[in-house]
């Protein structure tokens, strides 16, 4: 054993141990939930269940508020994503391509959404919503979800539009294409990966948003994460694990679908200008 380890080199061994610690730390909680969700019986101190079953899945879907919350969450996420695309993509194009007065001021103003600690900002918003009668309304929930995404929904597409070479647009214009056609046929397709990443990120962000909704949406707008809060305290761990998988599934599916677009560079362009 010892000669084998020596042949491998201490460096390799340390690397391996570090990797194992990382995997346990970051994937352990998720793996644990995945196992719990398909458990029938699991007594302490066994490390694996001795009976597997799907019974908690039927239990979860029989609860009244759970399917309802799934529908509500997806509806809100769709509204938020649609509205943000409508509002932010034109602005991103303007920042990347049009010279206009105060453009830098406008571009940086989006930093404000991330320049305050979240719960502090939400409480301030709730104070305002309370005065405006927006507490416990769909509009209020949608607005609070949009704050989180405004910055990267504008910045990631801005970076994407900026990366489209002007020369390509100009050559299209030289052969007689109008500005709108150039945008549709050249600029938009080339910036699309960035826009897709931003949109997916927006959708997931809205799907997962918990604290803001908890503050302004209770009691009528119980989205999935809000239901999860009560599941944690009221239901057995198995049911919580099942619901966790339901809540995480859209994330994993969308990420796998967009895997080739999502990179550290594209993502970090949403949080800093480069």
């Amino acid at each position: 054993m010892r000669w084998y380890l020596k042949a491998l080199g201490t460096r390799k061994i340390i690397e391996f141990i570090v990797l194992v610690i990382f995997v346990i730390f970051f994937l352990g909680p998720l793996l644990n939930l995945a196992i719990l969700a398909f458990t029938g019986k699991w007594n302490y101190p066994d490390v694996l269940p001795h009976q597997w079953s799907m019974k908690w899945w039927t239990f979860v879907f029989k609860q009244e508020d759970i399917p309802q919350s799934i529908g509500l969450s997806f509806m809100i996420a769709a509204i938020v994503t649609g509205l943000s695309i409508l509002i932010c993509i034109p602005a991103a194009y303007a920042f990347a391509r049009i010279r206009f007065p105060l453009s830098r001021f406008f571009l940086f103003s989006f930093l404000l959404t991330h320049a305050f600690p979240k719960m502090g900002l939400y409480v301030s918003i709730a104070v305002l919503f309370y005065k405006l009668g927006l507490m416990n309304t769909l509009l209020g929930v949608v607005l609070i979800h949009m704050i989180n995404v405004l910055m990267f929904m504008t910045w990631i597409p801005t970076a994407a539009f900026r990366n489209v070479h002007k020369a390509q647009e100009e050559s299209a214009r030289d052969v007689g294409a109008g500005p709108f056609r150039v945008f549709l046929k050249i600029t938009l397709p080339m910036a699309l990966p960035g826009i897709i990443v931003a949109s997916i990120f927006t959708f997931l962000n809205s799907l997962d948003e918990a604290q803001g909704t908890f503050l302004v949406g209770i009691p009528n707008y119980k989205t999935m994460p809000i239901v999860m809060y009560s599941i944690i305290s009221d239901y057995p761990a198995y049911a919580g694990a099942v619901f966790s998988i339901i809540l995480t599934a859209p994330t994993i599916i969308l990420l796998l679908a967009a895997k080739r677009f999502v990179s550290a560079d594209v993502m970090s362009s949403g949080f800093q200008l480069k």
Binding site: Y44, F100, F116, S124, A210, S244, S268
Partner: protein, 274 residues
């Protein structure tokens, strides 16, 4: 053309104005008003004289500072490791480290509770491997810090990784040629090229932790509380809007220092490009 640019930007700016600027002004005014309808500093005085509130503030600052330091060290090491090494293990880490960014915070917190809790998966494994009982890890300060590491290390690694990939290989080669040691190479070449991103990372982690709610709400101690939890309670349970506003504003002040440097470095960057 300039008018068009402004028109494209105005809708998103208005949204930003209504959801960020107005609430902050309103809550500032609210935080200064006292029960008799006049204006004074009584709500702020409460923050610093109330024993429980003072404990909460100190507790939050401790958790935040410890989390920020650990997150930065681990993330920088991980990002640098991925940048300057190649091989199977690096490839694995590269493929996996971004997963936690997309996992809903409620789910991750729940997973950590199940994994680390009393009779959780870790304690079962430790028992199997002959380790005896493990010390309590959640429902106190350690739990919140562990959760903060889980949430912030991947994101920070992503930011720093993208900055480090911007360090040209030529710089490192030439540093090696003039015989710079590892430490000198880091302090004189790599750090100066990435310190702006480091600043962004510090800001995001600091504000993320100070304004966090889900993790401390679910796996923190009942007292003292993190400011996010305490704020929600003052607003939602005690219905003390003025006090909640004052607390929100206090967290803004704590972060304004960091926020200022973040915004300034972004503005400088953008100024250099145009």
């Amino acid at each position: 053309m300039g008018i068009l640019g402004v028109l494209l930007v105005i809708p998103s700016f208005l949204l930003l104005f209504v959801t960020v600027v107005v609430p902050i002004v309103v809550s500032f005014k609210e935080s200064l008003s006292n029960k008799e309808g006049g204006y004074d500093l009584s709500n702020y005085k409460f923050l610093f004289t109330d024993k429980l509130m003072r404990a909460n503030i100190i507790f939050s600052l401790e958790v935040t500072v410890v989390s920020v330091v650990i997150v930065l060290i681990v993330s920088y090491a991980l990002a640098a490791y991925m940048r300057f090494n190649d091989g199977k293990i690096v490839k694995w880490i590269r493929n996996m480290y971004m997963i936690p960014i997309f996992i809903p915070s409620v789910i991750a917190t729940y997973g950590l509770i199940q994994l680390l809790g009393n009779h959780g998966w870790v304690s079962r494994w430790v028992l199997l491997l002959g380790g005896g009982d493990i010390p309590r890890m959640i429902f106190d300060m350690k739990g919140i810090i562990i959760a903060n590491l889980w949430f912030n290390i991947p994101f920070t690694t992503m930011l720093l990784g993208s900055a480090l990939s911007g360090v040209p290989n030529a710089v490192i080669e030439s540093a090696k040629d003039v015989g710079a040691g590892k430490l000198r190479m880091f302090t004189q070449f790599i750090l100066p090229l990435t310190y702006k991103t480091l600043l962004v990372a510090v800001t995001f982690v600091f504000m993320g932790v100070i304004g966090s709610f889900t993790a401390p709400f679910l796996l923190g101690p009942n007292a003292p509380q993190m400011l996010g939890v305490s704020m929600e309670q003052i607003f939602g349970v005690f219905q003390e809007k003025q006090q909640a506003s004052a607390l929100a504003f206090f967290t803004f002040l704590l972060c304004s220092f960091m926020g200022y440097f973040y915004i300034r470095s972004m503005v400088k960057e953008e100024g250099a490009r145009s």
